[in-house]
């Protein structure tokens, strides 16, 4: 099974090179598939990619560097991915990173070393909408569906029985598109929550048997006590933390129009969101805990195309940056911003509130995960206030929704599966 991984590189920008860097990134974004710097259409390992200029963190009157964030969702091994970037667009990457501190444009090894040196650890939480499907597979499966569609359009099959129709489709593909029928469909193994739950239980029981049940009881009571304390602390803070007020500042309006200028050109959109984490160890601790939980759930529970109940996210990641001071969020999704944020509120308010309630000015919450995002207008306003422009954004399959990608895979899998009539009817519904 192919693994998709997140790469996040943060490099400090040389202060007086910011304009030059912006101009390079703008040029790339204008014709992102083909341009003089990085022709993304030639890169085969990337699902989604973005460059974002992150403004410095201002704290106690001093400000840090501006960062260039580079992020990809890539297939396979990191070294292979980085080498592909440099072998196909080395010149472009050299020119970009020459605007950053300490970069020497002197070949592939230097580039790979620099990227690794500035690479962030694995995101605090990382979500994949279509697990186990490489870019290559996604395109192949899209072609398979298309070929079937053309066949059905040209030679209507409604007089035939379901199993016969499936047979005709397979015969047609084998005859006219043999290359699409080569190889098996991808085997995808999804993890589940059963194992970690089992392990936890076993450990607890082992403590009980090996030492004493009283010890286990004390341990659990102590844990409960800690949670209780944290809870009291949280409720106090929740009642006193300031929340954002909806105002109509002209600055915000022009910010929003800068963002919307790049939205809704295709069925997919992206979001880059950067917000300061509430100060103190308590919120940072909670945030890390929640993100850890979300990451576990993303791998083991929300691994079939829906995060919470949101069916439109290709990839999303949360990364804590600036030594625990800011939370960065990247997302690639289907549909409009309004619909994405609406889904947040309607389908995943609890999880997202649990994350962002630990950041500045989030709408008032209750018990960490409740209210907050359900204050719809305030939540959307808060999101826009902290959303930042993405200088370069690339998608390898911008005409496909997550639902399409997953459906295409099911079509592909079904082609190679034995079916009775009932199963065939179900499969034909996917067409």
């Amino acid at each position: 099974m192919i693994y998709q991984s997140p790469l996040t590189v943060l490099a400090p920008i040389i202060p007086d090179r910011l304009p030059a860097l912006r101009s390079i990134l703008d040029t790339i974004n204008k014709e992102v598939e083909e341009n003089e710097f990085i022709s993304f259409s030639k890169l085969t390992t990337i699902h989604f990619c973005r460059f974002v200029i992150i403004t410095p963190l201002n704290e106690n009157g001093t400000s840090g560097p501006a960062w260039l964030a580079f992020s990809t969702n890539y297939d396979g091994e990191l070294d292979q991915h980085l080498n592909e970037l440099y072998s196909k667009a080395g010149n472009g990457f050299d020119q970009i990173y020459s605007q950053c501190e300490n970069y020497q444009a002197s070949g592939s090894a230097q580039f790979v070393g620099y990227m690794k040196a500035h690479m962030m650890p694995f995101p605090n939480a990382f979500y994949i909408g279509h697990r186990g499907l490489s870019v290559e597979t996604i395109w192949k499966q899209s072609k398979i569906r298309k070929a079937i569609q053309e066949f059905l359009n040209d030679q209507p099959q409604d007089a035939n029985k379901p199993l016969q129709i499936k047979k005709n489709i397979i015969n047609h593909l084998k005859l006219k598109h043999p290359q699409l029928m080569e190889g098996e469909p991808p085997a995808i193994h999804l993890k589940s929550l059963a194992l970690p739950i089992l392990i936890t239980l076993v450990i607890l029981l082992a403590i009980g048997f090996a030492f004493s049940w009283t010890l286990l009881l004390w341990f659990l009571l102590a844990l409960l006590g800690v949670i209780g304390l944290l809870y009291v602390l949280l409720r106090q803070k929740e009642n006193s933390d300031p929340q954002i007020e909806i105002k109509d500042e002209s600055e915000l309006v022009s910010n929003i129009s800068r963002l919307t200028a790049n939205e809704d050109f295709t069925v997919q959109n992206q979001l880059t969101h950067l917000v300061t984490i509430k100060s103190g160890w308590f919120r940072l601790f909670l945030l890390k805990l929640v993100l850890w939980g979300i990451n576990v759930l993303a791998v083991r529970e929300f691994n079939k195309g829906k995060l919470g109940n949101i069916p439109t996210i290709h990839f999303a990641r949360w990364v804590i940056i600036d030594k625990g001071r800011r939370l960065l969020f990247f997302s690639n999704f289907d549909g409009s911003w309004e619909s994405y944020l609406g889904d947040f509120v309607d389908k995943a308010a609890v999880g997202l509130t649990a994350v962002w309630s630990n950041t500045d000015l989030f709408p008032r919450t209750k018990n960490l995960a409740f209210q907050g995002a359900t204050d719809e207008e305030r939540f959307k306003y808060w999101t826009r206030v902290h959303q930042i422009p993405t200088q370069v954004w690339y998608s390898a399959y911008k005409t496909l929704s997550v639902v399409n990608v997953i459906n295409n895979n099911e079509i592909h899998q079904g082609l190679f599966a034995e079916m009775n009539e009932e199963a065939a009817i179900k499969w034909l519904r996917k067409l």
């Binding site: 409604d158 379901p162 200028a261 809704d264 309607d346 389908k347």
Partner: protein, 460 residues
């Protein structure tokens, strides 16, 4: 729950003036704020409230952002960004699908270089004669205060609540929670007042952000945002396409058109009468139905049909409960009116198909109300109507009013594209791959329809 203050709410928000079949919509411009206020002072006592049935005539009015600029250049809390930006902008163009043959550059009115519209005066009457009376009443004051009527849009209702393609229109309307005592309905169709009228709780149990004046006066209270779009309907083209696709078999052509609409010409929903119209009059205005239980795969009423896209009810993502909640948060109150001479007086599709066609333009003045243009009207337009990926579809814009184009990049328009329409069926789907556009946007603007107290306040 606060009860609806129908005495302060303009009548059009409460009722559709079914019996007032004639109407004129005057797009007006005032020479300055002072004279606009004087005109409002004259108009205020004429405005029909929602309190009682209006009888033989009704007056309503709504302001544009430019008009509000004249009356209240500074606001305490401003209007929403959507209203202030207006319907016409490069971003909004992508949301609404106002490019290619809908491009606002070619509109009859409302395009950027046209003179600013400050307000719209909406006059409804039970006969042509009475409507003339309304005009006479207004005209002298229009002259006196130097108001320019930029355009008069005339509408005349068609028989049997039909629109120009020959279908029973305007059936699916939300029932306002505040009016439930008078009208019973399915819980999924009873919508919080605040979705349509400021000053009341919305579907999130919150008060929608309402514009206020600098002195704290709640200007939004009992008001609403009104979306107005002039949509030309190519009736001949519509029926020609259906006939071409069905070997000129009238019955089959009507069946295909019904699949595209999701209701038969009578108004009967396909999902309640699959295969053919049973002709049961009780179903003509049927609106109390869902999709999940009886038609989750779209084999009775296609997933991409017009009424399913406009209001998906419980049918999205195989999750009826969640789908119902989501649908309730994207509803609009529709008050549209047709324009142009009917192609066949009976408005029966069989007659429309036979008729030679009229020379005058036919279409719809699409009018709807909501308190959050972005989450309601624009969302429906973008995420449901024009969205090819709606639910689990791949390439199906709304077959009746959607646009399957690629939005202009760097200002460069791309040619129109034909749309796909998938008809789900057992054992396997059928598909139309060449659905042309049947409707064309010819003008439009966003308005704010204030409550009566707010009009009086603005006239001060």
């Amino acid at each position: 729950m606060k009860s609806l203050d129908t005495k302060d709410i303009q009548g059009l928000l409460i009722r559709g003036y079914k019996d007032l079949t004639e109407s004129d919509f005057l797009l007006c411009q005032a020479p300055d704020g002072k004279r606009l206020k004087l005109f409002l002072k004259f108009l205020a006592p004429l405005i029909t409230s929602g309190h009682a049935n209006p009888g033989e005539r009704a007056f309503n009015m709504a302001m544009t952002s430019e008009g509000m600029e004249l009356l209240a250049p500074k606001m305490g809390k401003d209007f929403s960004i959507e209203f202030r930006e207006g319907m016409v902008s490069p971003f909004r163009q992508r949301i609404l699908g106002d490019y290619n043959s809908n491009a606002y550059e070619n509109w009859d009115w409302g395009k950027p270089k046209d003179p600013d519209i400050h307000f719209i005066l909406m006059m409804y009457a039970s006969s042509k004669h009475r409507l003339k009376g309304c005009s006479d009443l207004v005209n002298s004051k229009v002259l006196e205060f130097g108001i320019t009527v930029l355009r008069t849009l005339h509408s005349q209702k068609l028989p049997n609540e039909k629109e120009h393609f020959g279908f029973h229109d305007g059936i699916s309307q939300p029932t306002l929670k505040g009016l439930v005592q008078k009208r019973t309905d399915h819980p999924n169709n009873i919508i919080a007042d605040g979705e349509f009228i400021f000053g009341y709780e919305n579907e999130y149990d919150k008060l929608p952000t309402s514009p206020t004046l600098t002195d704290g006066f709640n200007l939004g209270e009992n008001g609403s945002y009104m979306v107005f779009r002039q949509i030309k309907q190519d009736v001949k083209g519509f029926w020609k396409y259906m006939m071409d696709k069905r070997n000129s078999e009238v019955k089959d052509a009507i069946q295909l058109a019904s699949a595209i609409v999701g209701r038969y010409p009578s108004g009967t929903p396909l999902v309640l009468s699959p295969g053919s119209d049973k002709g049961d009059p009780a179903l003509h205005s049927a609106n109390n139905f869902g999709y999940y239980e009886h038609d989750k795969h779209g084999e009775k009423c296609p997933i991409g049909s017009h009424i399913r896209k406009a209001n998906p009810r419980d049918g999205m993502n195989e999750n009826p409960k969640e789908s119902s909640i989501v649908s309730k948060r994207h509803r609009i109150l529709r008050r549209g009116r047709p324009y142009g001479e009917p192609i066949a007086p009976s408005m029966d599709p069989e007659d429309i198909i036979k008729a030679s066609g009229s020379e005058t333009e036919t279409g719809l003045y699409f009018i709807c109300f909501n308190t959050n243009i972005g989450r309601q009207f624009e969302f429906i337009q973008q995420q449901w109507m024009n969205n090819k990926k709606f639910d689990h579809l791949y390439n199906d814009p709304d077959p009746l009013i959607g646009i399957d184009g690629k939005p202009p990049v760097n200002g460069i328009q791309k040619p129109d594209q034909l749309g796909e329409f998938t008809v789900q069926q057992c054992p396997v789907r059928k598909k139309l791959t060449d659905v042309p556009q049947f409707t064309f946007v010819k003008g439009g603007a966003y308005f704010f329809m204030p409550g009566l107290r707010a009009i009086n306040k603005l006239a001060e």
